[in-house]
Point group: C2
Chain length 152, copies 2
């Protein structure tokens, strides 16, 4: 079942990047960074290809956007990602000063936003984005389910 | 006051990297990754130079070590860093399967190991390194204190 409303373009692009990651043998997760509605950074999971333990889709997209802007802070930018970010990515989102976080589906096993450490709710947290979750539950969870089913 | 025991060589190297970061106008934090006692990756804080919100010393060192090994996991490797890691870096340490984490001084404001979210104690956490903190309290805290005092 698809979403009951048309998916925003950045989330559609993040889902396409997730499919590209899957085709390359990576966990199917994709992300984009937008500023004023325009995509300025894209990323997909690249751990295996790049030999990089940090190369989650969100990290790749934020690094690309920061290079594009020539600034290590992404003030006023939004991040769109197919899966709820893990602690590493949530920490990076806070460091980057992302304004709004949109994600496709929650991750009970590894998510750090609405479950587990709930990093943005920690008193230590210096910057909290606005958070909009569950934007593409059917699409994003089907991608992950199919990926892990095919590997069993 | 310096440490009451000789600092291990990897921690001495991490402190030298922290000083190099400071000389480049970055927050003075340094890190190295060792495998079987040999340094295979080095990093210092590079946020401003690289326009990279993720370029903490630990991330830079782990990415270098992973490229060196040709593997996105640093199984059996140790990480040495001058300051207690933040949530982003703690998450990356877990993803990378670091065996032992050694750090110079605790960070009450931003640390995620012994304070705040205590990420390795979260039930979600899939890999916890052995942790040895407070190895260079005097040296690492003096570096940070002098850096922030000079900027006031």
């Amino acid at each position: 079942m698809s979403s009951p409303f048309p998916l925003p373009d950045p989330m559609r692009r993040a889902l396409a990047l997730a499919r590209a990651a899957e085709a390359a043998g990576e966990v199917p997760i994709g992300a984009v960074v937008t500023k004023d509605g325009v995509i300025i950074g894209e990323g997909e999971n690249r751990n295996r290809r790049d030999h990089d333990p940090t190369a989650h889709a969100e990290i790749v997209a934020m690094r690309a956007a920061a290079i594009h802007l020539g600034d290590f802070r992404l003030t006023g930018c939004d991040l769109w990602v197919t899966l709820e970010p893990c602690p590493m990515c949530a920490g990076a989102i806070s460091h980057a000063r992302i304004a709004r976080l949109y994600y496709g589906v929650g991750d009970p096993k590894g998510g750090a936003i609405e479950q587990g450490p709930r990093l943005f709710a920690q008193p230590q947290c210096l910057h909290r984005p606005e958070v909009y979750g569950g934007l593409a539950e059917a699409e994003a969870s089907a991608l992950l389910r199919d990926f892990f089913a095919a590997r069993r």
